[in-house]
């Protein structure tokens, strides 16, 4: 008996280091689901790769999807056996995921970076927290629009007839435009179902070439098919750089609204601890700084010190022009706004 114990102990002493080393070398893989295209390229370079370098034991598999609704669709299908650990998507869809129990509530004791976020990066009924702020901008072709526009109503001039590209409702870019116009015209907002904003679309709608610019709103403006429109700041800034200035973006004098992307942990995520570590890193000041300087999303971490050249291209210096929007409340009346859009705006552009 003693001899057998001695042999077992000796064997385990000899073998254990190899077993431990093998398990230590086996990296944990987490699946992070977020937007495809430009976002994927820039986020991978600015956040995912530095995270993997800092955490050699964790591999990040980026699962790209075109939009937030497609992401929630996949997560609904995987509800019984989640394959995804972390998801970055729009705040309104994050609310849906939270209501359906797909996302768990992030805890500041496990992720202390949550305490460093701006107050408007946290939401009472959403499990995740904001990871990026974007904002609506006017975009235009610098060869076709001279002098540069200053107002949303520059899209309503005779010179712009058939040259305006607006991603219309249900896209939230069109919704943002209606909300800004509603505020400008003294509308009460959600309570008034943005009726004043819908009314204010009347002079712009006849000039609209397409309400469904494809592949996005930036390409037809860069190639001259359209001359002016609206888009999101981050992508507009990157497209301004890659088009050598053919496309330019500015915040119109009527104001802008924020679009918020939220980072969420999936309930029952296969690699919960590693997922939390990734979320922690994504919300940290260095990651926020790197991504803002790469793609011009405004940071959500108040401690992130962004280079002036990058922060000047976000809405941070124009906070006085930001029209406050409760996206969750807007989602509740979306059907009614959509109905008015179809009946009162689209017919004007036919």
């Amino acid at each position: 008996m003693k001899r057998r114990t001695f042999v077992a102990a000796t064997t385990s002493l000899i073998v254990a280091p190899w077993i431990n080393r093998a398990s230590a070398q086996q990296p944990v893989t987490i699946n992070v689901m977020a937007y495809t295209g430009l976002f994927q390229d820039r986020y991978t370079a600015a956040v995912v790769e530095p995270f993997m370098r800092a955490n050699p034991g964790i591999r990040v598999n980026y699962s790209p999807l075109p939009n937030s609704a497609a992401m929630i669709g996949q997560l609904r299908a995987q509800r019984a056996a989640p394959q995804v650990d972390v998801v970055i998507l729009d705040v309104t869809v994050a609310k849906v995921g939270t209501d359906e129990g797909i996302f768990s509530r992030l805890d500041a004791t496990a992720i202390p970076e949550i305490n460093e976020l701006y107050p408007n990066a946290r939401f009472p009924n959403v499990g995740g927290v904001a990871v990026t702020f974007d904002n609506l901008v006017m975009i235009y072709n610098t060869d076709a629009v001279k002098p540069p526009p200053t107002s949303l109503l520059d899209m309503a001039t005779a010179a712009m007839r058939g040259r305006v590209a607006i991603p219309g409702l249900p896209d939230i870019q069109g919704m943002s435009l209606v909300m800004i116009l509603d505020k400008l015209n003294g509308g009460p907002g959600v309570e008034g179902r943005f009726a004043k904003g819908i009314e204010a679309m009347a002079p712009i709608a006849p000039n609209v070439q397409t309400w469904e610019p494809r592949p996005d709103v930036y390409a037809p403006i860069i190639n001259g098919q359209a001359a002016i429109g609206i888009g999101w700041n981050a992508r507009a800034q990157v497209n301004a750089d890659t088009s050598n200035g053919k496309l330019a973006a500015l915040i119109p004098k009527e104001g802008t609204v924020f679009q918020i992307n939220v980072i969420n942990q999936v309930q029952g995520a296969p690699q919960a601890q590693a997922a939390q570590r990734f979320i922690s890193y994504a919300l940290s000041a260095p990651a926020q700084k790197a991504f803002t300087e790469s793609m011009f999303y405004a940071p959500t971490n108040a401690k992130a010190e962004i280079a002036p050249s990058a922060i000047d291209r976000t809405a941070v210096k124009f906070l006085d022009r930001v029209v406050p929007v409760d996206w969750i409340a807007v989602a509740g009346v979306r059907d009614q706004i959509m109905d008015q859009w179809r009946r009162r705006v689209i017919p004007l552009s036919r």
Binding site: A69, V93, G162, W211, E212, R214, Q225, D335, R343
Partner: protein
């Protein structure tokens, strides 16, 4: 004894044949059940699921979406516009494809093969790519409007981002299907019958009207059914060429499922598309029966 044995023989043989036939049907029945019946049943379940205004599914039941679709004039208009657009596309595709198919049917040798490959080759390209091709042709600064401008036109023709663009794009994209269906249906066309009609003094237009067209009707019916069904379920081309102004059932299903996250409404509209398919199939069967 021998009489009983004789009576049992055909019975057993019939039972054996039935068993073999049933066994042979099992794979397709299984595929159909898993690939079609179950998803359709799932669609039906989703269509009566309750949803909050935010888009979250509550797990409860509701017929709210069916009520909305039945009472909101927008959805009736949507259905009418979808059927009308699909019928226009089907008729135009038939008119453009029929002469090509007839010509191909009457050709022989290498030219027939070459032209047939040319006709089918668009199917090798994604419809997204072909639709982008149409954007290059139909846009305000595209091929057509550039040519018109060179001829002195002041204003570009609005050929795209409206109903015209959708009809032009879908007609071209669905032509190969119509041509192939027509070619399959032209099998009954016997050149000797046409010769006989001509010998009896019928002029070419009468030969076509009284002989060729009636004999090719099964192909016309098949091609029309196929094109109609494909037109009604197309959403990429209407999305790209409609400019957000053309509302069809398929584009609405896409918007509700992928943009606004209203799955019950998307499922309800999908079931309506399925019902339209069923009606189209019933009309086709009836036409086939009438033309013998």
């Amino acid at each position: 004894m021998s009489a009983a044995a004789t009576a049992q023989g055909p019975d057993q043989s019939r039972r054996g044949t039935t068993f073999a036939a049933t066994t042979l049907l099992v794979p397709i029945l299984l595929i159909n059940a898993i690939g079609f019946m179950l998803p359709v049943a799932n669609l039906a379940v989703i269509s009566v699921s309750e949803i909050r205004s935010s888009g979250a599914m509550t797990g409860g039941w509701s017929i709210a979406k069916w009520t909305t679709v039945a009472t909101d004039p927008f959805y009736w208009e949507l259905l009418a516009n979808t059927v009308r657009t699909s019928l226009i596309v089907t008729i135009l595709t038939l008119i453009v494809s029929y002469p090509i198919a007839l010509c191909l049917h009457r050709m022989s040798g290498a030219w027939k093969s070459i032209l047939l490959v040319l006709v089918i080759s668009p199917l090798l390209l994604s419809s997204v790519v072909r639709t982008y091709g149409w954007i290059a042709i139909l846009s305000d600064r595209g091929l057509v409007n550039s040519a018109l401008a060179a001829l002195g036109a002041q204003e570009p023709l609005r050929l795209m981002f409206n109903q015209n663009g959708v009809i032009i794009g879908l007609t071209e994209i669905l032509m190969p299907y119509m041509i192939l269906a027509l070619l399959a249906g032209f099998g009954r066309l016997d050149p000797r019958v046409e010769e006989a009609a001509a010998t009896l003094g019928a002029p070419p237009y009468r030969v076509f009207w009284r002989v060729v067209l009636p004999l090719s009707l099964p192909g016309v019916a098949l091609g029309s059914l196929l094109t109609f069904v494909l037109a009604i379920s197309s959403f990429i081309t209407p999305k790209l060429l409609g400019g957000g102004r053309v509302f069809l059932l398929a584009t609405e299903v896409y918007d509700q499922a992928i943009v606004t996250l209203d799955w019950p409404l998307a499922a309800t509209l999908s079931i309506i598309v399925l019902v339209v398919f069923g009606l189209a199939l019933a009309v086709y069967t009836r036409i086939l029966r009438q033309i013998g």
